[in-house]
């Protein structure tokens, strides 16, 4: 498979390294509007071709698939253009800036019959994959109750840098700089953790978002600090199970930690992903004594590897554009419920 890396900033180096490391995959070209950045990127990753636009790259056409690492708002137009030119697409999250755009992308992707996947990175967590396998195989019975949290503390701790002075953090606090706050930043990850891990779709959602006062006038330089810092969600799932999903950038004592607890009528699973990952389960006889056991889990293929395999075999793999669009719908609804203060159905 010949890969094109579209957009050479930020996350692109992970894509270049990860795809180049896969047998049978070569990164053949990069695209960026900024020639200096493009040159540096090509030099760093030994990429033979470079283009100033996707159109120019498509006119050349000597590649099979696109890793779309453009800014969020560009995902829609570029993914659709690539798909229409017959290229498989591996898109960074979020798939689009709203669910309407995301479903437009789904439609084009599904009509094309091409491989379309979204890089929800926590799918690479082996413990999450194993938890889902345990749940969907029926080993914990019917899922009744779910709790999922994504906790960060960079608004408190300076371990990742000082958000008061550094633009790489400040933009994430400001709507007009393109941030949808903690909901937009990590909400999609924990929603995916909760629904993928429990094997259930979200039917209804009620969310509260909160932006706490952070500076005089909630402004630092050009940045209005108006994006949400924390959210809480009440949801119900397709089988009637209830769940809470929440996230915060104020969770002192947790740098970057996802936790999922899925409770069924025959057992439960708990996934923790921080610096290290853990899977704990209670099932069978152990439920009588509430004895939890740690499960060792072998590594799973990464999203990059699974995309390469999907292209090689012609068989779609998850997470698909459709799955990401469904999650985007929940995120969009969260904003509406915050305004209307009532629960809304997802379909």
């Amino acid at each position: 498979m010949r890969m094109l890396i579209l957009g050479t900033g930020g996350m692109a180096k992970n894509h270049a390294k990860s795809f180049a490391a896969i047998d049978g995959v070569s990164v053949v070209a990069g695209v960026d509007v900024d020639p200096n950045r493009l040159d540096a990127f090509r030099a760093a990753h030994d990429i033979p071709h470079g283009f100033a636009s996707l159109d120019a790259a498509l006119a050349w056409g000597e590649f099979d698939a696109v890793a779309n690492v453009t800014p969020d708002s560009i995902h829609h137009s570029t993914s659709i253009a690539a798909l229409k030119a017959g290229k498989h697409v591996f898109c960074e999250k979020p798939l689009a800036t709203d669910a309407i755009k995301a479903f437009e992308m789904v439609e084009v992707a599904e009509q094309s019959g091409l491989i379309n996947m979204v890089n929800l990175t926590y799918r690479n967590v082996a413990q999450l994959q194993k938890a889902r396998e345990i749940v969907t195989s029926g080993q914990i019975g019917t899922v009744r109750h779910v709790e999922a949290s994504y906790l960060q503390s960079w608004l408190v701790s300076k371990a990742w840098g000082d958000w008061r002075t550094e633009s790489q953090w400040l933009w994430r606090l400001s709507k007009k700089h393109g941030s949808n706050g903690v909901l937009g930043d990590i909400g999609v990850h924990i929603l995916d953790f909760a629904s993928y891990g429990s094997g259930l779709d979200i039917d209804h959602v009620f969310a509260r978002l909160k932006t706490f006062d952070k500076a005089p006038g909630n402004k630092i330089g050009e940045y209005d600090l108006d994006a949400n810092d924390s959210f809480t969600m009440n949801v119900d799932f397709s089988n009637g199970a209830l769940g809470v999903i929440h996230a915060s950038r104020w969770a002192t004592g947790h740098f970057n930690e996802l936790r999922l607890r899925v409770y069924g009528d025959k057992g439960s699973v708990e996934v923790l992903n921080g610096k290290t990952s853990h899977l704990k389960v209670v099932m069978g006889e152990d439920i009588e004594t509430a004895t939890w056991r740690d499960l060792e889990v072998p590594p799973v293929p990464t999203n990059y590897q699974r995309f390469a395999e999907a292209v090689r075999t012609g068989q779609m793999q998850e997470p698909s554009f459709r799955h990401a669009a469904e999650l985007q719908k929940v995120l969009d609804l969260a904003l509406v419920t915050e305004q209307e203060r009532r629960e809304l159905p997802t379909h």
């Binding site: 300076k158 509260r208 009637g240 002192t252 025959k266 509430a290």
Partner: protein
């Protein structure tokens, strides 16, 4: 519960004497009074009040009887220790509170988790400002007894469990049973009230027709609450009787802008961990030990002896229970109209 109160509380406090007992069921009354050596036995509260040789009363009757019994005791000028929930709704609870306060009587509700020393320590850490301004909260109270039940075995279920699943047997489900505890636990620890909330309740099918004999299985098994607190913090409070792997576990996580607190309590014991001050940059959590605290029983006896409601704000009085009742009432409303409500 009456026996448990004697074993855990009254029987262990010097100077407290069980002078009399009341029950409408003669066999229950006899068995209780004999077991605990209670000299005077009455078939009704009226008879006991007419006799009058007691200083305070503990109300351990079914929830629905708390209100009439407590109102009679207030009229008779007796300090009252009442099992939770204080009443079956906010209006009744408020009436009881106002009557007790007007009469100047010591009044207290037995929110048993106030006996957990680490809860008081957590509150002290929050109110001292050590973790700064509280921003984010997660609280859960998880039990697994529904996951363990065999619903085809009516005999096994009928004594202890079935009434808890049935509204017409006086159950308000997990919300009324343990929701009140976790809401108290949370709001007491952070010293902030809930000011607005959304709630969903769920009752899962246990048997075909949702009925076993006279028991309609319609009380809620699980609830989820999304709450905003007095200082603007937001949080989630949830509970289930289906949580395999947790026999009876409370977990409270409080995050402030200078530190965090995580408190776990269950049959296995209690663990209080704190990350604050110099530990914030490394996200290092340390266990914190708590000094023992007086039990609700001891604090009630102290208050009766002093002849006044204790000045301490940590005593779960009728007013506190009434505030909690308002949240429970609104939870039911929110589940019906699927909206957020102001408390």
């Amino acid at each position: 519960m009456a026996g448990l109160q004697v074993q855990r509380g009254w029987g262990k406090i010097e100077g407290v004497e069980l002078a009399g007992a009341v029950d409408v069921m003669p066999a229950n009354l006899e068995a209780f009074a004999t077991t605990y050596g209670v000299p005077n036995r009455f078939g009704s509260l009226e008879e006991a009040i007419a006799w009058g040789q007691f200083d305070a009363a503990t109300v351990v009757a079914s929830d629905a009887f708390h209100h009439p019994l407590v109102m009679q005791l207030i009229a008779a000028n007796k300090p009252i220790f009442c099992e939770k929930p204080l009443a079956t709704n906010h209006a009744l609870a408020l009436e009881m509170t106002e009557a007790a306060e007007r009469a100047g009587l010591v009044n207290m509700v037995n929110l048993t988790y106030r006996n957990v020393a680490e809860l008081h320590k957590a509150r002290q850490i929050v109110t001292s400002g050590e973790i700064g301004e509280v921003k984010h909260i997660e609280a859960s109270y998880l039990q697994h007894w529904l996951a363990q039940r065999d619903f085809s075995n009516e005999a096994e279920l009928s004594g202890r469990w079935l009434w808890r699943l049935s509204r017409n047997h006086g159950s308000n489900g997990t919300l009324g049973d343990i929701g009140i505890h976790i809401i108290d636990f949370t709001t007491f620890a952070i010293n902030q009230p809930i000011v607005s909330m959304n709630c969903r309740l769920q009752t899962f099918r246990k048997v075909d027709g949702d009925r076993i004999g006279e028991y309609v299985l319609d009380a809620n098994d699980s609830f989820i609450i999304s709450a905003e607190f007095g200082n603007g913090a937001i949080g989630t409070i949830h509970s289930s009787r289906w949580a395999s792997g947790h026999s009876n576990d409370q977990k409270l996580r409080i995050y402030g802008n200078r530190g965090g607190i995580e408190l776990s309590h269950g049959h296995w014991g209690t663990l209080l961990r704190v990350c604050a001050g110099a530990d914030v940059p490394t996200s290092t959590w340390r266990e914190v030990k708590a000094e023992p605290v007086k039990s609700n029983y001891e604090r009630f006896v102290d208050a009766v002896r002093a002849g006044r409601q204790e000045v301490s704000d940590t005593l779960p009085d009728f007013r506190r229970a009434t505030e909690l009742q308002k949240v429970l009432d609104l939870a039911l409303v929110a589940d019906l109209d699927r909206r957020e409500h102001k408390v």
